[in-house]
Symmetry: C2
Subunit: 321 residues, 2 copies
Protein backbone atom coordinates (compact mmCIF):
# COMPACT_ATOMS: atom_id res chain seq x y z
CA UNK A 1 0.00 0.00 0.00
CA UNK A 2 1.25 3.47 -0.79
CA UNK A 3 0.72 6.78 0.95
CA UNK A 4 -1.51 7.83 -1.91
CA UNK A 5 -3.79 4.93 -1.19
CA UNK A 6 -3.77 5.66 2.51
CA UNK A 7 -5.00 9.08 1.49
CA UNK A 8 -8.11 7.51 0.05
CA UNK A 9 -9.28 6.74 3.57
CA UNK A 10 -11.74 4.08 2.67
CA UNK A 11 -14.58 3.20 4.95
CA UNK A 12 -15.45 -0.47 5.24
CA UNK A 13 -17.77 -0.20 2.29
CA UNK A 14 -15.17 1.51 0.13
CA UNK A 15 -16.70 4.97 0.46
CA UNK A 16 -14.86 8.07 1.61
CA UNK A 17 -15.65 8.89 5.21
CA UNK A 18 -17.07 12.35 5.52
CA UNK A 19 -15.23 15.02 7.40
CA UNK A 20 -11.64 13.80 7.16
CA UNK A 21 -9.40 16.65 6.10
CA UNK A 22 -6.50 15.99 3.76
CA UNK A 23 -3.71 17.43 5.95
CA UNK A 24 -4.45 15.13 8.86
CA UNK A 25 -5.01 11.94 6.93
CA UNK A 26 -1.57 10.49 7.45
CA UNK A 27 -1.19 11.69 11.03
CA UNK A 28 -2.33 9.24 13.68
CA UNK A 29 -2.55 10.24 17.32
CA UNK A 30 -1.68 7.51 19.79
CA UNK A 31 -2.55 8.37 23.39
CA UNK A 32 -0.52 6.02 25.53
CA UNK A 33 -2.59 4.87 28.49
CA UNK A 34 0.13 2.58 29.83
CA UNK A 35 0.89 4.68 32.94
CA UNK A 36 -2.85 4.56 33.80
CA UNK A 37 -4.69 1.60 32.23
CA UNK A 38 -1.46 -0.38 31.91
CA UNK A 39 -0.35 -0.08 35.54
CA UNK A 40 -3.82 -0.01 37.10
CA UNK A 41 -4.23 -3.81 37.51
CA UNK A 42 -0.61 -4.32 38.61
CA UNK A 43 1.10 -4.39 41.99
CA UNK A 44 1.36 -0.72 43.07
CA UNK A 45 4.55 1.16 42.24
CA UNK A 46 5.69 4.54 43.52
CA UNK A 47 4.48 7.72 41.87
CA UNK A 48 8.05 8.65 40.98
CA UNK A 49 8.48 5.36 39.14
CA UNK A 50 5.22 5.89 37.27
CA UNK A 51 6.52 9.31 36.26
CA UNK A 52 9.65 7.57 34.97
CA UNK A 53 7.45 5.54 32.62
CA UNK A 54 5.70 8.71 31.41
CA UNK A 55 9.09 10.30 30.77
CA UNK A 56 10.25 7.23 28.84
CA UNK A 57 7.17 7.58 26.64
CA UNK A 58 7.94 11.25 26.04
CA UNK A 59 11.50 10.25 25.14
CA UNK A 60 10.10 7.81 22.55
CA UNK A 61 8.20 10.66 20.92
CA UNK A 62 4.78 9.97 22.45
CA UNK A 63 3.04 13.28 23.03
CA UNK A 64 -0.34 12.19 24.40
CA UNK A 65 -0.15 10.25 27.65
CA UNK A 66 -2.80 9.25 30.15
CA UNK A 67 -0.51 9.69 33.10
CA UNK A 68 -2.62 9.12 36.20
CA UNK A 69 -6.05 8.47 37.65
CA UNK A 70 -7.79 10.40 40.41
CA UNK A 71 -9.74 7.33 41.47
CA UNK A 72 -9.89 6.40 45.14
CA UNK A 73 -6.65 4.69 46.21
CA UNK A 74 -8.77 2.31 48.25
CA UNK A 75 -10.52 1.17 45.05
CA UNK A 76 -7.35 1.09 42.92
CA UNK A 77 -4.22 1.10 45.09
CA UNK A 78 -1.93 1.15 42.05
CA UNK A 79 -3.22 4.63 41.13
CA UNK A 80 -2.47 6.32 44.46
CA UNK A 81 -0.82 9.76 44.56
CA UNK A 82 -1.71 11.00 41.07
CA UNK A 83 -0.64 14.54 41.92
CA UNK A 84 2.81 13.22 42.79
CA UNK A 85 3.07 11.56 39.38
CA UNK A 86 2.13 14.79 37.65
CA UNK A 87 4.58 16.79 39.72
CA UNK A 88 7.43 14.42 38.89
CA UNK A 89 7.12 14.16 35.11
CA UNK A 90 9.26 16.31 32.84
CA UNK A 91 6.89 17.31 30.13
CA UNK A 92 7.90 18.48 26.68
CA UNK A 93 6.29 21.76 25.62
CA UNK A 94 3.97 20.03 23.14
CA UNK A 95 2.88 17.23 25.46
CA UNK A 96 -0.78 16.54 26.22
CA UNK A 97 -1.10 15.09 29.70
CA UNK A 98 -4.40 13.38 30.35
CA UNK A 99 -5.76 12.10 33.65
CA UNK A 100 -8.76 9.93 34.37
CA UNK A 101 -11.33 11.31 36.78
CA UNK A 102 -14.05 9.01 38.09
CA UNK A 103 -16.30 11.76 39.48
CA UNK A 104 -16.60 15.47 40.27
CA UNK A 105 -14.42 15.18 43.34
CA UNK A 106 -11.66 13.57 41.26
CA UNK A 107 -12.00 16.35 38.69
CA UNK A 108 -11.64 18.99 41.39
CA UNK A 109 -8.40 17.39 42.55
CA UNK A 110 -7.12 16.90 39.01
CA UNK A 111 -7.76 20.49 38.00
CA UNK A 112 -5.53 21.71 40.82
CA UNK A 113 -2.66 20.00 38.92
CA UNK A 114 -1.07 20.77 35.56
CA UNK A 115 -3.27 18.67 33.27
CA UNK A 116 -4.25 19.18 29.63
CA UNK A 117 -7.21 16.84 29.32
CA UNK A 118 -9.55 14.84 31.51
CA UNK A 119 -11.02 11.47 30.64
CA UNK A 120 -14.28 10.33 32.15
CA UNK A 121 -15.81 6.91 31.72
CA UNK A 122 -19.36 5.82 31.21
CA UNK A 123 -20.59 2.52 29.91
CA UNK A 124 -22.72 1.76 26.88
CA UNK A 125 -23.92 -1.17 28.97
CA UNK A 126 -26.31 -0.18 31.76
CA UNK A 127 -25.51 -3.38 33.66
CA UNK A 128 -21.79 -2.79 33.36
CA UNK A 129 -22.18 0.84 34.47
CA UNK A 130 -24.14 -0.25 37.49
CA UNK A 131 -21.65 -3.06 38.21
CA UNK A 132 -18.72 -0.68 37.92
CA UNK A 133 -19.86 2.59 39.47
CA UNK A 134 -23.29 1.75 40.97
CA UNK A 135 -24.98 4.38 38.85
CA UNK A 136 -27.57 4.44 36.09
CA UNK A 137 -26.51 5.86 32.74
CA UNK A 138 -28.51 9.03 33.44
CA UNK A 139 -26.82 9.45 36.79
CA UNK A 140 -23.42 9.05 35.13
CA UNK A 141 -24.38 11.57 32.43
CA UNK A 142 -25.30 14.08 35.12
CA UNK A 143 -21.93 13.55 36.79
CA UNK A 144 -20.18 14.03 33.44
CA UNK A 145 -22.07 17.31 32.94
CA UNK A 146 -20.88 18.57 36.32
CA UNK A 147 -17.30 17.61 35.41
CA UNK A 148 -17.36 19.31 32.01
CA UNK A 149 -18.76 22.48 33.60
CA UNK A 150 -15.96 22.56 36.12
CA UNK A 151 -13.28 21.74 33.53
CA UNK A 152 -14.58 24.40 31.15
CA UNK A 153 -13.79 27.03 33.77
CA UNK A 154 -10.16 25.87 33.55
CA UNK A 155 -10.34 25.48 29.77
CA UNK A 156 -9.50 21.80 30.07
CA UNK A 157 -11.27 19.55 27.54
CA UNK A 158 -12.97 16.33 28.60
CA UNK A 159 -12.86 13.14 26.56
CA UNK A 160 -15.61 10.66 27.40
CA UNK A 161 -14.53 7.03 27.17
CA UNK A 162 -17.55 4.82 26.50
CA UNK A 163 -16.86 1.34 27.83
CA UNK A 164 -18.40 -1.85 26.39
CA UNK A 165 -19.06 0.06 23.15
CA UNK A 166 -18.82 -3.13 21.09
CA UNK A 167 -20.79 -5.39 23.39
CA UNK A 168 -21.22 -6.15 27.04
CA UNK A 169 -20.33 -9.27 28.98
CA UNK A 170 -23.66 -8.79 30.76
CA UNK A 171 -26.12 -7.92 27.98
CA UNK A 172 -24.25 -9.20 24.90
CA UNK A 173 -24.49 -7.19 21.71
CA UNK A 174 -25.59 -3.57 22.00
CA UNK A 175 -27.33 -1.61 19.26
CA UNK A 176 -24.63 0.53 17.59
CA UNK A 177 -27.09 3.37 17.05
CA UNK A 178 -27.86 3.42 20.77
CA UNK A 179 -24.13 3.50 21.52
CA UNK A 180 -23.69 6.41 19.10
CA UNK A 181 -26.64 8.19 20.72
CA UNK A 182 -24.89 7.94 24.08
CA UNK A 183 -21.88 9.55 22.40
CA UNK A 184 -24.08 12.39 21.19
CA UNK A 185 -25.47 12.86 24.68
CA UNK A 186 -21.93 13.12 26.02
CA UNK A 187 -21.08 15.81 23.47
CA UNK A 188 -24.30 17.60 24.47
CA UNK A 189 -23.08 17.58 28.04
CA UNK A 190 -19.90 19.39 27.13
CA UNK A 191 -17.47 16.62 26.29
CA UNK A 192 -14.95 17.68 23.66
CA UNK A 193 -14.49 14.19 22.27
CA UNK A 194 -15.72 10.63 22.61
CA UNK A 195 -13.57 7.49 22.68
CA UNK A 196 -15.25 4.12 22.25
CA UNK A 197 -13.73 1.30 24.29
CA UNK A 198 -13.77 -2.42 23.67
CA UNK A 199 -13.52 -3.13 27.36
CA UNK A 200 -13.83 -6.93 27.20
CA UNK A 201 -12.70 -7.78 23.68
CA UNK A 202 -16.04 -8.09 21.91
CA UNK A 203 -15.10 -5.88 18.95
CA UNK A 204 -14.52 -7.47 15.56
CA UNK A 205 -13.97 -5.88 12.15
CA UNK A 206 -17.71 -6.13 11.56
CA UNK A 207 -18.63 -4.52 14.90
CA UNK A 208 -16.09 -1.73 14.40
CA UNK A 209 -17.56 -1.00 10.97
CA UNK A 210 -21.10 -1.09 12.36
CA UNK A 211 -20.32 1.42 15.12
CA UNK A 212 -18.30 3.76 12.88
CA UNK A 213 -21.20 3.76 10.43
CA UNK A 214 -23.23 5.38 13.23
CA UNK A 215 -20.60 7.64 14.81
CA UNK A 216 -18.48 8.67 11.85
CA UNK A 217 -14.72 8.41 12.02
CA UNK A 218 -14.00 11.49 14.14
CA UNK A 219 -13.82 9.40 17.28
CA UNK A 220 -11.17 7.71 19.35
CA UNK A 221 -10.94 3.97 19.88
CA UNK A 222 -9.65 2.19 22.97
CA UNK A 223 -9.12 -1.47 22.14
CA UNK A 224 -8.29 -4.50 24.22
CA UNK A 225 -6.61 -7.77 23.39
CA UNK A 226 -9.03 -10.02 25.28
CA UNK A 227 -9.79 -12.11 22.19
CA UNK A 228 -6.62 -11.29 20.28
CA UNK A 229 -8.33 -8.75 18.02
CA UNK A 230 -6.97 -5.37 19.19
CA UNK A 231 -4.51 -4.83 16.34
CA UNK A 232 -6.93 -6.15 13.72
CA UNK A 233 -9.70 -3.84 14.91
CA UNK A 234 -7.35 -0.86 15.04
CA UNK A 235 -6.22 -1.52 11.48
CA UNK A 236 -9.79 -1.79 10.24
CA UNK A 237 -10.55 1.53 11.92
CA UNK A 238 -7.50 3.10 10.28
CA UNK A 239 -8.75 1.86 6.91
CA UNK A 240 -12.10 3.47 7.69
CA UNK A 241 -10.44 6.79 8.53
CA UNK A 242 -10.16 6.85 12.34
CA UNK A 243 -6.99 8.64 13.40
CA UNK A 244 -7.10 8.63 17.22
CA UNK A 245 -6.37 5.61 19.40
CA UNK A 246 -5.59 4.71 22.96
CA UNK A 247 -2.71 2.27 23.17
CA UNK A 248 -0.55 0.97 26.00
CA UNK A 249 3.20 0.52 25.92
CA UNK A 250 4.03 -3.18 26.16
CA UNK A 251 0.35 -4.06 25.82
CA UNK A 252 -0.10 -3.83 29.58
CA UNK A 253 -3.54 -3.27 31.00
CA UNK A 254 -6.99 -4.53 31.69
CA UNK A 255 -9.61 -3.22 34.04
CA UNK A 256 -9.49 -4.78 37.48
CA UNK A 257 -13.31 -4.61 37.40
CA UNK A 258 -14.10 -6.06 33.94
CA UNK A 259 -14.77 -9.80 33.82
CA UNK A 260 -12.37 -11.29 31.28
CA UNK A 261 -10.50 -8.09 30.53
CA UNK A 262 -6.99 -8.39 29.09
CA UNK A 263 -4.23 -6.07 27.97
CA UNK A 264 -4.57 -3.05 25.73
CA UNK A 265 -3.55 -2.69 22.13
CA UNK A 266 0.25 -2.49 22.40
CA UNK A 267 1.57 0.86 21.23
CA UNK A 268 4.63 -0.63 19.57
CA UNK A 269 2.73 -3.38 17.73
CA UNK A 270 0.34 -0.84 16.25
CA UNK A 271 3.13 1.63 15.52
CA UNK A 272 5.08 -1.03 13.61
CA UNK A 273 2.31 -1.59 11.07
CA UNK A 274 1.55 2.14 10.87
CA UNK A 275 5.22 2.92 10.21
CA UNK A 276 5.29 0.22 7.54
CA UNK A 277 2.81 2.17 5.41
CA UNK A 278 4.06 5.65 6.19
CA UNK A 279 1.63 7.01 8.76
CA UNK A 280 3.07 9.77 10.89
CA UNK A 281 2.90 9.39 14.67
CA UNK A 282 6.16 11.05 15.73
CA UNK A 283 6.96 7.96 17.79
CA UNK A 284 10.02 5.71 17.57
CA UNK A 285 9.64 1.92 17.87
CA UNK A 286 13.10 1.66 19.40
CA UNK A 287 12.12 4.31 21.95
CA UNK A 288 8.99 2.34 22.80
CA UNK A 289 11.08 -0.80 23.28
CA UNK A 290 13.05 1.16 25.88
CA UNK A 291 9.85 2.43 27.50
CA UNK A 292 8.48 -1.13 27.54
CA UNK A 293 11.63 -2.19 29.39
CA UNK A 294 10.88 0.48 32.01
CA UNK A 295 7.30 -0.81 32.23
CA UNK A 296 8.45 -4.42 32.64
CA UNK A 297 10.85 -3.30 35.34
CA UNK A 298 8.04 -1.49 37.20
CA UNK A 299 5.54 -4.35 37.08
CA UNK A 300 8.12 -7.06 37.72
CA UNK A 301 7.18 -9.33 34.83
CA UNK A 302 7.58 -9.37 31.05
CA UNK A 303 5.12 -7.21 29.13
CA UNK A 304 2.62 -9.14 26.98
CA UNK A 305 3.47 -7.59 23.63
CA UNK A 306 5.87 -9.19 21.20
CA UNK A 307 8.11 -6.49 19.78
CA UNK A 308 9.96 -5.68 23.03
CA UNK A 309 10.98 -9.37 23.02
CA UNK A 310 11.84 -9.94 19.35
CA UNK A 311 12.55 -6.46 18.06
CA UNK A 312 11.10 -4.73 15.03
CA UNK A 313 10.88 -6.62 11.74
CA UNK A 314 14.01 -4.99 10.39
CA UNK A 315 16.20 -6.42 13.14
CA UNK A 316 18.33 -9.13 11.50
CA UNK A 317 20.36 -11.97 12.93
CA UNK A 318 23.83 -12.87 11.78
CA UNK A 319 24.10 -15.65 9.21
CA UNK A 320 25.82 -18.47 11.01
CA UNK A 321 27.28 -20.31 8.07
Amino acid sequence: MTDARIGECRGHDGTMPAGVQAPSQTTVVLRDVGPRDGLQPERPVDAVDRARLVDALFAAGVRHVEAASFVSPRAVPAMADPAAVLAAIERPADAVVTVLVPNLRGAQEALRCDVDELTVTISASPAYNRHNVRRSIDESLAEVASITSLAAASQVPVDAVVSCAFGSPFEGDLDPSAVATLGDRLLDRGCAAVTYADTTGMATPRRVADLLAETGVGVGLHLHQTRGTALLNAWCAIQAGVRRFDTSVGGLGGSPFAPGAAGNLATEEFLAVLDDVGFDTGISVEGLIEAAAVAADLVGHPVPSTIPRVGPRGRLVAVED
Copy 2:
Protein backbone atom coordinates in the same frame (compact mmCIF):
# COMPACT_ATOMS: atom_id res chain seq x y z
CA MET B 1 -2.42 -5.91 -4.29
CA THR B 2 -3.91 -2.50 -3.94
CA ASP B 3 -6.36 -1.02 -1.52
CA ALA B 4 -8.87 -1.08 -4.33
CA ARG B 5 -8.52 -4.82 -4.48
CA ILE B 6 -8.90 -5.11 -0.74
CA GLY B 7 -12.02 -3.04 -1.12
CA GLU B 8 -13.47 -5.37 -3.72
CA CYS B 9 -13.26 -8.46 -1.57
CA ARG B 10 -15.57 -7.90 1.34
CA GLY B 11 -17.37 -10.94 2.64
CA HIS B 12 -19.48 -9.14 5.18
CA ASP B 13 -21.28 -6.59 3.05
CA GLY B 14 -22.32 -9.11 0.46
CA THR B 15 -20.44 -7.69 -2.52
CA MET B 16 -18.68 -10.13 -4.83
CA PRO B 17 -14.92 -9.94 -5.02
CA ALA B 18 -13.75 -9.78 -8.62
CA GLY B 19 -12.37 -13.07 -9.88
CA VAL B 20 -13.67 -15.18 -7.03
CA GLN B 21 -16.35 -17.65 -8.01
CA ALA B 22 -19.60 -17.60 -6.12
CA PRO B 23 -19.53 -21.17 -4.74
CA SER B 24 -16.17 -20.70 -3.05
CA GLN B 25 -16.36 -17.05 -2.13
CA THR B 26 -17.62 -17.55 1.39
CA THR B 27 -15.85 -20.84 2.02
CA VAL B 28 -12.53 -20.61 3.80
CA VAL B 29 -10.31 -23.65 4.23
CA LEU B 30 -8.39 -23.79 7.48
CA ARG B 31 -5.72 -26.47 7.55
CA ASP B 32 -4.92 -27.02 11.21
CA VAL B 33 -1.20 -27.56 11.62
CA GLY B 34 -1.42 -27.85 15.42
CA PRO B 35 -0.57 -31.56 15.58
CA ARG B 36 2.57 -30.84 13.51
CA ASP B 37 3.75 -27.23 13.72
CA GLY B 38 2.01 -26.77 17.07
CA LEU B 39 3.54 -29.76 18.84
CA GLN B 40 6.90 -29.71 17.04
CA PRO B 41 8.68 -27.33 19.45
CA GLU B 42 7.13 -28.91 22.56
CA ARG B 43 8.20 -31.69 24.90
CA PRO B 44 7.52 -34.95 22.95
CA VAL B 45 4.19 -36.68 23.52
CA ASP B 46 3.14 -40.17 22.44
CA ALA B 47 1.83 -40.76 18.95
CA VAL B 48 -1.48 -41.96 20.37
CA ASP B 49 -1.89 -38.66 22.23
CA ARG B 50 -1.07 -36.70 19.09
CA ALA B 51 -3.75 -38.72 17.31
CA ARG B 52 -6.14 -37.72 20.10
CA LEU B 53 -5.54 -34.08 19.21
CA VAL B 54 -6.18 -34.80 15.51
CA ASP B 55 -9.43 -36.54 16.45
CA ALA B 56 -10.47 -33.56 18.61
CA LEU B 57 -9.94 -31.30 15.60
CA PHE B 58 -12.06 -33.61 13.44
CA ALA B 59 -14.73 -33.50 16.14
CA ALA B 60 -14.68 -29.69 15.96
CA GLY B 61 -15.40 -29.86 12.25
CA VAL B 62 -11.85 -29.30 10.99
CA ARG B 63 -11.37 -31.33 7.80
CA HIS B 64 -7.83 -30.41 6.80
CA VAL B 65 -5.18 -31.37 9.34
CA GLU B 66 -1.42 -31.52 9.11
CA ALA B 67 -1.18 -34.56 11.34
CA ALA B 68 2.46 -35.57 11.39
CA SER B 69 5.97 -34.98 10.07
CA PHE B 70 8.31 -37.55 8.58
CA VAL B 71 11.34 -35.58 9.70
CA SER B 72 14.15 -37.39 11.50
CA PRO B 73 13.21 -38.05 15.14
CA ARG B 74 16.78 -37.15 16.05
CA ALA B 75 16.25 -33.67 14.56
CA VAL B 76 12.72 -33.20 15.97
CA PRO B 77 12.02 -35.69 18.77
CA ALA B 78 8.45 -34.43 19.19
CA MET B 79 7.57 -35.68 15.70
CA ALA B 80 8.71 -39.29 16.19
CA ASP B 81 6.51 -42.19 15.02
CA PRO B 82 4.42 -40.37 12.40
CA ALA B 83 3.09 -43.67 11.01
CA ALA B 84 1.75 -44.49 14.46
CA VAL B 85 -0.11 -41.17 14.59
CA LEU B 86 -1.68 -41.85 11.20
CA ALA B 87 -2.65 -45.39 12.18
CA ALA B 88 -4.34 -44.18 15.37
CA ILE B 89 -6.53 -41.36 14.06
CA GLU B 90 -10.16 -41.98 13.23
CA ARG B 91 -10.66 -40.02 10.08
CA PRO B 92 -14.01 -38.81 8.77
CA ALA B 93 -14.70 -39.77 5.15
CA ASP B 94 -14.16 -36.20 3.94
CA ALA B 95 -10.98 -35.53 5.90
CA VAL B 96 -7.78 -34.39 4.21
CA VAL B 97 -4.80 -35.65 6.16
CA THR B 98 -1.56 -33.87 5.36
CA VAL B 99 1.94 -34.79 6.46
CA LEU B 100 5.16 -32.85 6.18
CA VAL B 101 8.03 -34.56 4.39
CA PRO B 102 11.52 -33.02 4.59
CA ASN B 103 13.04 -35.05 1.74
CA LEU B 104 12.52 -37.94 -0.68
CA ARG B 105 13.15 -40.54 2.00
CA GLY B 106 10.45 -38.99 4.20
CA ALA B 107 8.08 -38.97 1.24
CA GLN B 108 8.73 -42.67 0.62
CA GLU B 109 7.83 -43.44 4.22
CA ALA B 110 4.79 -41.17 4.18
CA LEU B 111 3.36 -42.64 1.00
CA ARG B 112 3.30 -46.07 2.63
CA CYS B 113 0.69 -44.60 5.01
CA ASP B 114 -2.84 -43.38 4.40
CA VAL B 115 -2.17 -39.73 3.57
CA ASP B 116 -4.06 -37.31 1.31
CA GLU B 117 -1.48 -34.57 0.84
CA LEU B 118 2.20 -33.94 1.40
CA THR B 119 3.74 -30.64 2.39
CA VAL B 120 7.32 -29.83 1.54
CA THR B 121 9.21 -26.77 2.68
CA ILE B 122 11.65 -24.55 0.89
CA SER B 123 12.73 -21.07 1.84
CA ALA B 124 12.43 -17.84 -0.07
CA SER B 125 15.58 -16.90 1.82
CA PRO B 126 18.72 -18.65 0.52
CA ALA B 127 20.46 -18.08 3.85
CA TYR B 128 17.55 -19.48 5.81
CA ASN B 129 17.35 -22.49 3.49
CA ARG B 130 21.02 -23.18 3.98
CA HIS B 131 20.72 -22.60 7.74
CA ASN B 132 17.76 -24.95 7.98
CA VAL B 133 18.47 -27.80 5.55
CA ARG B 134 22.04 -27.12 4.37
CA ARG B 135 20.95 -26.89 0.76
CA SER B 136 20.87 -24.22 -1.93
CA ILE B 137 17.48 -23.25 -3.32
CA ASP B 138 18.25 -25.18 -6.53
CA GLU B 139 19.16 -28.27 -4.54
CA SER B 140 15.89 -27.99 -2.61
CA LEU B 141 13.93 -27.53 -5.84
CA ALA B 142 15.50 -30.71 -7.23
CA GLU B 143 14.49 -32.58 -4.07
CA VAL B 144 10.95 -31.22 -4.39
CA ALA B 145 10.80 -32.44 -8.00
CA SER B 146 11.79 -35.94 -6.92
CA ILE B 147 9.10 -35.87 -4.23
CA THR B 148 6.34 -34.67 -6.57
CA SER B 149 7.27 -37.42 -9.09
CA LEU B 150 7.01 -40.07 -6.44
CA ALA B 151 3.77 -38.66 -4.99
CA ALA B 152 2.20 -38.40 -8.44
CA ALA B 153 2.50 -42.17 -8.80
CA SER B 154 0.29 -42.44 -5.71
CA GLN B 155 -1.94 -39.59 -6.86
CA VAL B 156 -1.08 -37.62 -3.74
CA PRO B 157 -0.79 -33.84 -4.26
CA VAL B 158 2.12 -31.87 -2.86
CA ASP B 159 1.76 -28.39 -1.33
CA ALA B 160 5.00 -26.43 -1.20
CA VAL B 161 5.31 -24.22 1.87
CA VAL B 162 7.65 -21.30 1.15
CA SER B 163 9.21 -20.11 4.38
CA CYS B 164 10.36 -16.51 5.01
CA ALA B 165 8.07 -15.40 2.18
CA PHE B 166 7.59 -11.97 3.79
CA GLY B 167 11.19 -11.36 4.77
CA SER B 168 14.12 -13.17 6.27
CA PRO B 169 15.81 -12.70 9.62
CA PHE B 170 19.09 -13.12 7.72
CA GLU B 171 18.65 -11.02 4.57
CA GLY B 172 15.78 -8.72 5.58
CA ASP B 173 13.18 -7.82 2.98
CA LEU B 174 12.94 -10.06 -0.07
CA ASP B 175 11.70 -8.97 -3.49
CA PRO B 176 8.05 -10.13 -3.71
CA SER B 177 8.43 -10.87 -7.41
CA ALA B 178 11.38 -13.15 -6.67
CA VAL B 179 9.31 -14.93 -4.01
CA ALA B 180 6.46 -15.37 -6.49
CA THR B 181 8.93 -16.70 -9.08
CA LEU B 182 10.02 -19.35 -6.61
CA GLY B 183 6.33 -20.28 -6.27
CA ASP B 184 6.10 -20.63 -10.05
CA ARG B 185 9.17 -22.85 -10.09
CA LEU B 186 7.57 -25.08 -7.47
CA LEU B 187 4.43 -25.42 -9.58
CA ASP B 188 6.66 -26.22 -12.57
CA ARG B 189 8.19 -29.02 -10.54
CA GLY B 190 4.85 -30.65 -9.97
CA CYS B 191 3.56 -29.02 -6.78
CA ALA B 192 -0.22 -28.79 -6.74
CA ALA B 193 -0.29 -25.67 -4.57
CA VAL B 194 1.95 -23.14 -2.88
CA THR B 195 1.57 -21.81 0.65
CA TYR B 196 3.54 -18.74 1.67
CA ALA B 197 4.78 -18.73 5.25
CA ASP B 198 5.62 -15.81 7.52
CA THR B 199 8.12 -17.89 9.43
CA THR B 200 9.47 -15.18 11.72
CA GLY B 201 6.70 -12.61 11.82
CA MET B 202 7.88 -10.11 9.21
CA ALA B 203 4.57 -9.89 7.35
CA THR B 204 2.47 -6.75 7.62
CA PRO B 205 -0.65 -5.68 5.74
CA ARG B 206 1.59 -3.91 3.24
CA ARG B 207 3.88 -6.92 2.73
CA VAL B 208 0.90 -9.27 2.36
CA ALA B 209 -0.55 -6.94 -0.28
CA ASP B 210 2.79 -6.69 -2.07
CA LEU B 211 3.22 -10.47 -2.29
CA LEU B 212 -0.38 -11.17 -3.32
CA ALA B 213 0.00 -8.57 -6.08
CA GLU B 214 2.65 -10.89 -7.53
CA THR B 215 1.15 -14.30 -6.78
CA GLY B 216 -2.59 -13.68 -7.09
CA VAL B 217 -4.93 -14.88 -4.37
CA GLY B 218 -5.06 -18.58 -5.24
CA VAL B 219 -2.44 -19.37 -2.63
CA GLY B 220 -2.32 -20.51 0.96
CA LEU B 221 -0.90 -18.45 3.80
CA HIS B 222 0.85 -19.75 6.90
CA LEU B 223 1.16 -16.93 9.42
CA HIS B 224 2.95 -16.59 12.71
CA GLN B 225 2.36 -14.41 15.72
CA THR B 226 5.98 -13.38 16.28
CA ARG B 227 5.14 -9.65 16.11
CA GLY B 228 1.46 -9.98 16.98
CA THR B 229 0.30 -9.58 13.38
CA ALA B 230 -0.97 -13.05 12.42
CA LEU B 231 -4.68 -12.30 12.70
CA LEU B 232 -4.32 -8.88 11.08
CA ASN B 233 -2.41 -10.31 8.13
CA ALA B 234 -4.90 -13.14 7.72
CA TRP B 235 -7.79 -10.70 7.68
CA CYS B 236 -6.10 -8.50 5.08
CA ALA B 237 -5.57 -11.61 2.94
CA ILE B 238 -9.22 -12.56 3.34
CA GLN B 239 -10.19 -9.07 2.20
CA ALA B 240 -7.96 -9.54 -0.84
CA GLY B 241 -9.62 -12.88 -1.67
CA VAL B 242 -7.32 -15.55 -0.22
CA ARG B 243 -9.34 -18.51 1.03
CA ARG B 244 -6.78 -21.01 2.28
CA PHE B 245 -4.85 -20.70 5.53
CA ASP B 246 -2.74 -22.76 7.86
CA THR B 247 -3.75 -22.22 11.48
CA SER B 248 -2.94 -23.96 14.74
CA VAL B 249 -5.38 -24.84 17.48
CA GLY B 250 -4.57 -22.81 20.59
CA GLY B 251 -2.01 -20.81 18.64
CA LEU B 252 0.70 -23.33 19.48
CA GLY B 253 3.77 -23.52 17.33
CA GLY B 254 6.98 -22.03 16.13
CA SER B 255 9.86 -23.64 14.35
CA PRO B 256 12.56 -24.95 16.67
CA PHE B 257 15.03 -23.76 14.00
CA ALA B 258 13.80 -20.23 13.27
CA PRO B 259 15.39 -17.42 15.30
CA GLY B 260 12.59 -15.48 16.98
CA ALA B 261 9.77 -17.73 15.83
CA ALA B 262 6.54 -17.70 17.83
CA GLY B 263 3.17 -19.41 17.72
CA ASN B 264 0.94 -19.81 14.69
CA LEU B 265 -2.24 -17.94 13.89
CA ALA B 266 -4.70 -19.50 16.36
CA THR B 267 -7.46 -21.38 14.56
CA GLU B 268 -10.13 -20.27 17.02
CA GLU B 269 -9.16 -16.58 16.97
CA PHE B 270 -9.35 -16.49 13.18
CA LEU B 271 -12.52 -18.57 13.12
CA ALA B 272 -14.22 -16.15 15.52
CA VAL B 273 -13.84 -13.17 13.19
CA LEU B 274 -14.67 -15.26 10.12
CA ASP B 275 -17.83 -16.54 11.80
CA ASP B 276 -18.77 -12.98 12.72
CA VAL B 277 -19.10 -12.02 9.04
CA GLY B 278 -20.59 -15.28 7.83
CA PHE B 279 -17.70 -17.10 6.20
CA ASP B 280 -18.19 -20.85 6.04
CA THR B 281 -15.48 -23.09 7.48
CA GLY B 282 -17.54 -25.96 8.86
CA ILE B 283 -15.72 -25.55 12.16
CA SER B 284 -17.19 -24.91 15.62
CA VAL B 285 -15.50 -22.47 18.00
CA GLU B 286 -16.75 -24.46 20.97
CA GLY B 287 -15.29 -27.61 19.43
CA LEU B 288 -11.97 -25.85 18.98
CA ILE B 289 -12.02 -24.78 22.62
CA GLU B 290 -12.30 -28.47 23.51
CA ALA B 291 -9.49 -29.35 21.10
CA ALA B 292 -7.37 -26.56 22.60
CA ALA B 293 -7.93 -28.13 26.02
CA VAL B 294 -6.59 -31.43 24.65
CA ALA B 295 -3.60 -29.55 23.23
CA ALA B 296 -2.92 -27.80 26.55
CA ASP B 297 -3.13 -31.15 28.30
CA LEU B 298 -0.60 -32.67 25.89
CA VAL B 299 1.95 -29.88 26.12
CA GLY B 300 1.54 -29.36 29.84
CA HIS B 301 1.00 -25.61 29.76
CA PRO B 302 -1.74 -23.17 28.75
CA VAL B 303 -2.03 -22.49 25.04
CA PRO B 304 -1.12 -18.96 23.94
CA SER B 305 -4.41 -18.02 22.32
CA THR B 306 -7.11 -16.09 24.12
CA ILE B 307 -10.44 -17.67 23.29
CA PRO B 308 -9.82 -20.98 25.08
CA ARG B 309 -9.32 -18.87 28.22
CA VAL B 310 -12.13 -16.31 27.91
CA GLY B 311 -14.58 -18.01 25.59
CA PRO B 312 -16.18 -16.66 22.42
CA ARG B 313 -17.56 -13.11 22.41
CA GLY B 314 -21.10 -14.33 22.90
CA ARG B 315 -20.33 -15.94 26.24
CA LEU B 316 -21.97 -13.73 28.88
CA VAL B 317 -21.49 -13.47 32.61
CA ALA B 318 -24.30 -13.26 35.10
CA VAL B 319 -25.27 -9.78 36.25
CA GLU B 320 -24.38 -9.67 39.91
CA ASP B 321 -26.70 -6.95 41.05
